[in-house]
């Protein structure tokens, strides 16, 4: 899948969870730096992403994910 399309699909989940229709995920975005994206919300986001793309992140992958570009890259590797 194209990276841009992944950003769009993941942004859709963020939009709903952060309750912000205008939100567009940018490569450098990080949990803790975006309004509403805290560690607890992160858990929910990951769960929804896993189910949307029917994949499971390993604990190691989750620990290594530092920002949105890592997240998108990991999804893209697993698809």
């Amino acid at each position: 899948m194209e990276t841009q399309s992944l950003y769009t699909q993941v942004s859709d989940i963020f939009k709903q969870i952060l309750n912000n229709d205008n939100f567009e995920l940018q490569p450098g975005d990080k949990a803790g730096e975006i309004d509403g994206w805290d560690s607890l919300t992160h858990v929910i986001l990951i769960d929804l992403i896993e189910r949307k793309f029917d994949l499971k992140f390993s604990l190691g992958e989750l620990e290594e994910m530092k920002d949105a570009s890592d997240l998108i890259e990991t999804i893209s590797e697993k698809l």
Partner: protein, 585 residues
């Protein structure tokens, strides 16, 4: 609504965030304290959302992380001031720490854990509210394999032993309620239930995706404690109770019973409905059909259910919502206490859209799943099983016979005389407490204040010696109706105040209300009172009693906090109860 079967947990995770505009007209307001042994943030948010979807406004107290034990033994001021209506303790096998236990010492571990469990329960008792406690899930790995269940040192056996003791404790203490996560985790599957990556990262004891099912399980218990469960299943026939169309296919060709897969599915559904009936849920028919065809089908002997199993039959060509309202009226039950089961989405929606509060599952052409729509929605979740429940369908049936007798006699008083009614009155006690709490919480129409009580609250209220609560059964020549009325009150100086006064609608217009009032007069006189004060508070459903005291010449002397206070001197009350004799148990 979103927690309905089949539960869609992604949707719940998404929707629960959007909907936090306050409810405009909530049915009630409850305070739920969640004492966690692990992370409970998502759980708490979803509990709020669960009640939101039921039009109940819910406030949550969430303990600090892992502080379930200290909040139980030495509650914080925050928890005390929160005044919980319900307390849920979220423990799990993760908090049990079974992997830390030396496998030669399992027996000691069980004993000491049960001691802690008891201490926690006894301490939480001081809150005087229902306490909802978990048992434990099975571990997702076995040390020995299959003999784990059998031998000392086996982890499965360890959980078995602890759970058995927990169940015994909960069963013996009325203020404790079991949230059976051992069953729930097995139903969903342990591999789905646990997610160790969540545990290591965020200390969630379960995977995120099972939280909605867990919340629904807890929510259903709370709904059952408040008495808001369903009482009747109204059933469509063609392609619901049996496969095919009786009017087209005929009694010998419809699909029901062995030999045809679809027929077996419907037959199994009928068996389950018969079991629901034996535990006190009424069954009725709501079908577009000629009644003669319906009778032919039941006469053919191919169905598991008999036509006598139904408390009311509407088989005609009327609109189904109208039929259902008529059924509710005939049974004297609120239409919102019905579940309507019909395979046709158009019929589902006409009933759903026109009857407020009714439950209409969205089943369609999947007979193998019909039982899940009926059983996995908590419609009939209950906290007890009383003798009245066992007899309920029978009692309603007898009511139809009474109706026939009434129509055959010329005057209503002849009818009442012919019933040969007796009533046995007794004080609230441990034998009748289950039924009393049930009746107080389930009765909507003949109910003067619509106060709802848990067993603990009622016990506390009655611990004062000025408080009274009596209950009465009603017997007649058709049989015993069981305990059908409760009246409570208190003495204040020379006045006897009647606060809670409820009666089951199935015995209305039998003179029972005046018989009860006479009993109250006796108590008032025995306590040196000179007047009786009846209290009434209008609700959405109790208009049938609004003129009760006025009709008996009481005077309205005060309205305070929407409660009317109707006074009458004891001397001047004359109540007629010619038709009911005092009876023995």
């Amino acid at each position: 609504m979103s927690f309905d079967y089949p539960i869609d947990s992604s949707k719940i995770l998404l929707n629960r965030r959007k909907l936090f505009t306050p409810l405009k007209n909530p049915k009630k307001q409850i305070n739920v304290a969640v004492l966690g042994a692990s992370t409970t943030d998502e759980l708490c948010e979803q509990i709020k959302y669960f009640f939101y979807t039921k039009n109940i406004s819910c406030r949550i107290f969430q303990s600090n992380f892992g502080q379930f034990m200290s909040e139980s033994l030495d509650p914080s001021d925050e928890l005390i001031n929160f005044k919980p209506d319900f307390i849920y303790v979220h423990t799990s096998i993760k908090s049990l720490k079974i992997y830390d236990v030396d496998l030669n010492n399992h027996a000691d571990f069980v004993d000491s854990h049960i001691k802690d469990f008891n201490m926690m329960a006894e301490s939480l008792k001081l809150f005087n509210c229902p306490i909802i406690l978990n048992n434990y899930e099975f571990p997702d790995l076995r040390l020995f394999g299959n003999i784990d269940r059998l031998i000392d040192g086996g982890l499965v056996k360890l959980i078995d032993s602890i759970n058995t003791k927990i169940h015994e404790i909960i069963n013996n203490k009325k203020f404790l309620y079991l949230n059976d996560i051992n069953y729930l985790s097995a139903k969903l599957g342990l591999d789905l239930w646990f997610d160790d990556s969540q545990w290591y990262k965020s200390k969630y004891s379960t995977s995120i995706s099972v939280i909605p099912a867990l919340v629904k399980n807890i929510g259903n218990i709370i709904i059952a404690i408040t008495g808001e469960t369903k009482k009747v299943v109204a059933l469509d026939l063609d392609n619901t109770l049996w496969g095919g169309v009786i009017g087209d296919d005929g009694a010998s060709k419809i699909k029901i019973g062995e030999g045809d897969p679809i027929g077996e599915g419907h037959f199994h559904l009928q068996k389950l409905l018969a079991l629901l009936k034996s535990r006190g849920v009424l069954l009725t028919i709501n079908s577009k059909n000629d009644i003669d065809n319906v009778k032919k089908s039941f006469k053919s002997g191919r169905n598991f259910l008999k036509i006598e199993d139904f408390s009311y039959i509407a088989a005609n060509w009327e609109r189904k919502d109208l039929n259902l309202l008529e059924t509710a009226q005939a049974l004297n039950l609120g239409a919102d206490s019905f579940v309507f089961i019909d395979d046709n989405p158009a019929e589902q929606s006409i009933v759903r859209d026109n009857i407020l509060g009714i439950s209409v599952p969205k089943l369609h052409k999947n007979v193998e799943d019909y039982p899940k729509f009926l059983f996995d929605n908590g419609f009939f979740e209950t906290i007890s099983f009383s003798n009245e429940d066992k007899e309920r369908a029978n009692i309603y049936k007898k009511n139809l016979e009474r109706d026939e007798l009434r129509h055959s006699l010329t005057s209503y008083s002849d009818y009442l005389k012919s019933l040969e009614m007796t009533s046995f009155v007794e004080n609230f006690n441990s034998n009748n407490s289950e039924r009393v709490v049930q009746l107080l919480n389930k009765t909507n129409q003949f109910n003067f204040l619509t106060n709802r009580y848990t067993y603990e609250e009622l016990n506390k209220k009655l611990s004062s010696k000025n408080e009274f609560l009596i209950c009465a059964n009603l017997n007649d020549k058709f049989g015993d109706n069981g305990i059908i009325s409760i009246v409570g009150g208190y003495v204040d100086k020379k006045s006897f105040y009647i606060d809670n006064f409820v009666m089951s609608c199935r015995v209305l217009k039998r003179g029972m209300e005046d018989f009860i009032l006479n009993n109250v007069i006796d108590i008032a006189r025995g306590n040196g009172c000179s007047e009786i004060v009846g209290m009434f508070k209008k609700s959405e459903k109790n208009s049938m009693v609004k003129n009760f005291y006025q009709d008996r010449n009481f005077n309205l002397e005060l309205v305070e906090n929407s409660i009317e206070y109707w006074h009458s001197e004891l001397e001047s009350i004359s109540v007629d109860d010619n038709f009911i004799q005092k009876g023995n148990k």
